[in-house]
Amino acid sequence: MTETTQFRVVDFDCPTCASTVERALAQTSGVETVEVHYTTGRVEIAYDPDVTEPGDFQTTIENQGYTPQPA
């Protein structure tokens, strides 16, 4: 089973910040694919709902110092 979820991060301040978040999310167990776009702030994650849940992603993004909003 794969589910997808989206967030919008409006306060990325540099392209590298977006790729750092992308890698951090990709390292989360249960995450299958991640796309993080600096320009639009759109974060799209495909994950296995048996292993992880959107709340985990929210925490990961917040830990990096950014504010995710539900898209």
């Binding site: 919008r8 409006v10 306060d11 990325f12 301040d13 540099c14 392209p15 590298t16 910040c17 790729s19 750092t20 890698r23 951090a24 390292q27 776009h37 600096y38 320009t39 639009t40 702030g41 759109r42 830990n63 990096q64 110092g65 504010t67």
Partner: protein
């Protein structure tokens, strides 16, 4: 909102402000008094407060195996404290926090520009259910339900008008400046504004499945696609940072100047270079979206910025595409009586109305747009005068189906009915069928064509005529002049493009004379007449070989190959058709050319803007590097210039939001 939550939401601002205050305090302490230790303490505190978040993010950077600016800034600040440069450490951290705060804040504006577009869709809808009108969430409206849209209200769903009459402001979706009249059978889009009358609309798309939503999704995809400049800059950045770190190590090894080495670290992120181009492009795409123009991505945008020739398809692009039998008499004829048929029809030794009727029979099953015009005119002629109330049925009786018919591509049709052969088409078709065209007919045709109309011959022959040889059998019985009105906006659009230094060319399947007249009416620079679809492609190929960057404008459906051949394919009327959006590089949502000059000029402005941003970034790097290596720029100064340049390119790029 309580204090904790406020802090959570505005953490960056609070941290930056605190760090700034401490920095100012520490600096004044050191400046005004001799309390060096106290001053140093406050400055280190300022660096710690501002730097905690930076260091934390540096940790994440390293964990994901990137050396980014946060890592470099952290290193520089720690290094500065280690060598006793407290003031520099605090200044670097404060300026960096301030810079990133402002950068995040300004980028937020470009990122939310599209959301504003979506917020135009109302959240609730009035729906007719069980004889009542009830208010429900817009997303809960089922397809096929009837939605009531009051005057002044926004349309909550995509749908078809089934009752009422009104003008609808479609600017949010199509960018059209003038309201569009709507009545039964017309399509309306969610997010548009109903202006004067109530409308009953049967929903065809609701919730996330509306034209506006689809457009916004596509715009986002476009914004996320990397332009060639961005890819180049990203590749460059990947080597730039490690190179600067090596340079810092090298500089330290040679000069033993720690401050210089640390300063090199601070400027080691080509911030303005990587941020500039995407901000320009995202702003431009966002701006275009709000004006009903979909730019498919940075790559297309960068190419569109080089356009120097725009080729237009004539039918449906420069003209309305609604062909009608001409209602103006030719010069040689007096204005006839008001009765049918339209004066664009002329019989030769034959009844005008009967010639039209024969043409209508032959064209009845054809799907060509000229066939529709002939059928409409024939039905109108049959019913004019109000002789019978049930005119439609009469018309259908009077225009029977042909026994058979054959379409000759680009020429016309040959059909059989009632023991006769009916040939309807251009001169080439008549020649092919061996029908002689008398001089008076040819003269009449020339005259109508010179008026910008398409003249269609109607000829009759015996069914038994052997087509294997030109027998000269068959008689021209009439000529039907068909007119396709120019779009009102066309001449102005052409003029604006010319003013922007763009050459304009019309491509058409029409004959030379008709094409020349239309070209003159529009004021277009050049035209190519008598082109078959494949020849339009060849014409575009030829322009490209001459070194032009060519945009081709069409409806995106019939002319998809030509659009694909051009450097930039521009489809119009894209709000209605997904195919057009698929094939085009630039899609004009409105079924109109109005926004074309804007799209071309915006692309050019974007190209300039990207170049300016790259210029600012490169200049900054050169200035900083030479400043640092000559020991004229130290930590704080370097950081100030670096952050300043990043803000400058963001603000410069954001000018395109207002273009």
């Amino acid at each position: 909102m309580n204090v904790t939550q406020y802090y959570r939401n505005h953490r960056k601002a609070v941290v930056t402000a605190a760090s700034g205050l401490l920095y100012a305090g520490g600096w004044s302490l050191g400046y005004a008094t001799a309390a060096d230790t106290a001053s140093a303490f406050v400055l280190v505190l300022a660096a710690a407060v501002g730097g905690y978040d930076v260091a934390k993010r540096a940790y994440y950077e390293l964990r994901s195996r990137t050396v980014g600016i946060k890592t470099l800034v952290t290193l520089a600040a720690v290094g500065a404290i280690a060598i006793g440069e407290y003031w520099e450490a605090a200044a670097v951290v404060f300026l960096f926090s301030l810079g990133s705060y402002l950068e995040g804040r300004t980028m937020r504006k470009t990122r939310t520009a599209l959301q504003e577009l979506l917020e135009l869709t109302p959240t609730t809808a009035l729906v007719r259910r069980d004889g009542d009108v009830v208010e429900v969430p817009a997303g809960d409206v089922a397809e096929g339900e009837t939605v009531v849209v009051k005057p002044g209200a926004k349309v909550p769903v995509d749908g078809e008008v089934v009752d009422g009459e009104s003008a609808v402001n479609q600017a949010p979706v199509t960018g059209e400046s003038a309201p569009v009249p709507k009545t039964s059978g017309d399509e309306v889009y969610a997010g548009t504004v109903n202006q004067d009358g109530a409308l009953d609309v049967v929903a065809t798309g609701t919730g996330a499945d509306t034209t506006l939503q689809r457009i916004v999704r596509r715009v986002e995809e476009a914004q996320e696609a990397q332009a060639p400049t961005e890819q180049f800059v990203d590749r460059f950045a990947r080597y730039y940072t490690p190179a600067i770190i090596l340079l810092a190590v090298g500089a330290y090894a040679l000069t033993r100047d720690v401050l210089m080495a640390l300063t090199l670290l601070v400027i080691g992120c080509p911030g303005a270079l990587v941020i500039g181009p995407p901000v320009s492009i995202v702003s431009a795409i966002g701006n275009a979206a709000r004006k009903g123009v979909l730019l498919k991505g940075g790559e297309h945008l960068e190419r569109a910025g080089k356009i120097d020739l725009v080729a237009f398809d004539k039918t449906g692009t420069l003209t309305s595409g609604e062909a009608r039998v001409a209602s103006t008499p030719s010069r040689e004829e007096a204005v006839g009586d008001a009765a049918s048929p339209p004066v664009g029809v002329r019989g030769f030794d034959y009844d005008d109305a009967e010639a039209l009727r024969l043409a209508a029979i032959a064209e009845k099953k054809s799907e060509h747009h000229l066939a529709d015009a002939i059928l409409d005119a024939a039905r109108g002629a049959a019913t004019s005068g109000g002789v019978r109330p049930d005119g439609g049925a009469v018309a259908e009786e009077r225009i029977p189906d042909p026994d058979d018919f054959e379409v000759v591509a680009g020429s016309g049709v040959v059909a059989h009915h009632d023991g006769r052969e009916i040939i309807v088409g251009n001169r080439a078709l008549l020649d092919e069928c061996g029908v002689t065209v008398p001089d008076d007919v040819a003269a009449h045709v020339r005259e109508r064509e010179a008026a910008g109309e398409t003249a269609v011959h109607v000829a009759l022959a015996d069914e038994t005529t052997d087509r294997s040889e030109a027998t000269g059998d068959g008689t021209v019985v009439g000529v039907i002049a068909i007119r396709d009105e120019l779009r009102e906006t066309a001449p102005r659009v052409v003029q604006e493009l010319q003013a922007a230094g763009v050459r304009t060319v019309m491509l058409t399947g029409d004959n030379e004379r008709t094409a020349r007249t239309v070209a003159e009416e529009v004021g277009i620079d050049d035209y190519r007449a008598g082109l078959l679809p494949a020849e339009k492609q060849a014409a575009i190929e030829a322009f490209r070989e001459d070194g032009h960057v060519v945009a081709m404008v069409g409806d995106g459906i019939n002319d998809a190959p030509s659009l694909a051949t051009a450097d930039i394919g521009v489809a119009m009327g894209a709000a209605g058709t997904d195919t057009a959006i698929e094939t085009a590089d630039v899609a004009l949502m409105a079924d109109d050319l109005e926004r074309l000059p804007y799209a071309v000029e915006l692309s050019k402005a974007t190209r300039r803007n990207v170049l300016q941003n790259v210029g600012i970034a490169v200049l900054t790097v050169v200035l900083l590097l030479s400043g640092v290596l000559t020991s004229n720029v130290h930590l704080a100064g370097g950081m100030l210039v670096h952050e300043g340049s990043v803000l400058l390119v963001i603000l410069n790029g954001m000018r395109l939001l207002q273009y």
